[in-house]
Symmetry: C2
């Protein structure tokens, strides 16, 4: 170990070997299951799990209909390239019907959590016969739960499995001693591609966190198209995170000499170290104007706004 200025340099290659050995020892000849979201935590767990267990680990990617343009296919292909089979579960209708009619941010978030744990993934876990569940919990998740910032997550209870009566179910959390930087270092040791390790942060509720008001297929299509434009135009900026938000309000506009009411898209791009505080990026005006002209070409959209607000008092997402 190399110590400088209080920073402990961890032997991540050794960490990987230890975790693989531990997963093999605990799971033995049994089978395990995990859900891959495409984020770095669940991606690292997936690779560690497959190195340890091979075909005895079943990895699913749940398409909730709230993902970005082409994202489900890209994630499956990325892991196919690493020799890891990922099962794509089409649950779009299940999530969209759970969200129908909801406009309250908390109710929307809860509906997504419930659809995922209690219904789609819960059913997969119970039907799989697996007794081990691999989960990408990191140290920050545990700390924030203890501090009361995150809700207490008893994952078995969320899955509809009673930990008392369901003797034999075990949750394995190989990353629970690491923070985000440690997970990224492990991802590098495992040879995960930049598409995974450098992926900009993306929230659990996915594009639903970026729709103010009701989530409908039409509104998802608008925010998905706007997100693709923003990600393409801002990929080279080196910013911490960039995104598009669809507001619920309509604004007046004029097209072909006729008055119309159109949808409003907000572009957000931030500079941050750890997402706890952030400031709006000073994007070149040429880039902002090009993004605006592309976004107001999306049918139904006639306004494009840039979010100037630091965190605090704003958050990164809108819902």
């Amino acid at each position: 170990m190399d110590r400088r200025e209080g920073v402990v340099s961890i032997d991540y290659a050794g960490f990987v070997q230890e975790q693989i050995a531990e997963l093999r020892r605990v799971v033995g000849d049994a089978t395990a299951i995990n859900a891959l979201s495409g984020g770095v935590d669940s991606s690292v767990v997936t690779v560690l799990g497959h190195r340890a267990l091979g075909r005895r680990l079943r990895t699913v990617f749940v398409d909730n209909g709230l993902m970005r343009e082409g994202e489900p296919r890209q994630v499956v292909e990325t892991f196919a390239g690493l020799g890891i089979p990922v099962e794509l579960i089409d649950a779009r209708e299940e999530f969209l019907s759970a969200l129908r009619g909801l406009t309250d941010p908390e109710q929307k978030r809860q509906a997504i959590t419930d659809a995922f744990y209690a219904r789609v993934f819960g059913r997969l876990v119970r039907e799989s016969g697996a007794k081990f569940l691999l989960h990408g919990t990191i140290l920050t998740d545990i700390e924030e739960t203890v501090a009361g910032i995150k809700r207490q997550h008893n994952i078995l209870a969320q899955l509809g499995i009673d930990p008392q009566s369901a003797y034999g179910y075990t949750v394995l959390e190989p990353l629970k001693t690491l923070r985000k930087d440690g997970v990224r270092a492990v991802a590098g040791v495992l040879g995960l591609p930049p598409a995974v390790t450098r992926r900009i942060p993306f929230p659990g509720p996915a594009l639903a966190a970026r729709i103010v008001g009701e989530v409908t297929p039409q509104r998802l299509a608008v925010v998905r198209a706007a997100t693709a434009i923003v990600e393409e135009e801002l990929a080279g900026t080196g910013a911490f995170q960039y995104l598009a938000v669809l507001l619920g309000d309509l604004a007046t506009g004029i097209r072909n000499d006729r008055r119309e009411f159109g949808q409003i898209v907000v572009v957000r791009c931030i500079e941050s170290v750890d997402a706890r505080t952030a400031s709006a990026t000073r994007i070149p005006w040429e880039t902002l104007e090009r993004i605006c002209s592309r976004i107001v070409a999306i049918p139904g959209v006639n306004r494009c706004l840039y979010d100037l607000t630091p965190k605090p008092p704003a958050t990164v997402e809108y819902v």
Copy 2:
């Protein structure tokens, strides 16, 4: 007259003398009334009318509760400085109750028009005994009515006065041969101060055009405070128009480590020659960031966005 490149240079001092003589000739010993909004058209009509008729013209300023910070008092003081008495009519409660519960943009605009013509100003005209009404119609208003862009305005009908039975009522429109540049030139000849001649465009429905959703006293206070900040910070830019808009949506934020839902203010600043087309001003980032930090200090507001959209497809205002 001096002609160059097809532009006819008009003798505006002569125009002023002709209009004053014509008003005296037509009104004779009778009395007249007019409503002053603070904009350049009604300001010029007010000065022409008082030069022609003196105390036989009664000028009212209707405070609809939708004006900017300190605006009613400032307009009255400006005209007092020119020796012209302006009667301040407090109609705030009448307009606010007409707007209560309305969220549809067209219904809001109609409610303001009805409250002004059919109720407040109509009542003043009928009670005044005046047979002449001075109105700031300009050539562009007539052209846009003919072209079907503006609704047909029969001002007597709007005032609840039947032109057939009310024989003797006459509407006088001394500026109906001028466009906006001509009105500004006449304002210069009349010695109107820059507060009037250089006033940035301000819409008829006033701050109600800048509130998406219901107009309430609380929401008016927010957009009024934001407008004062934007006007103070952008006065020196030379931009054609700048304004603040309060959206109806709420966004998540974080203050004192607690999650909150806050109001969203949009800053709009445009470059334009004639308001028919416009582009967003490239404001220095330091200025935008200062405006943002002042706006999110308004209680209840936690987002500040900058509108990037040209006209078309956006309009200048939001309602």
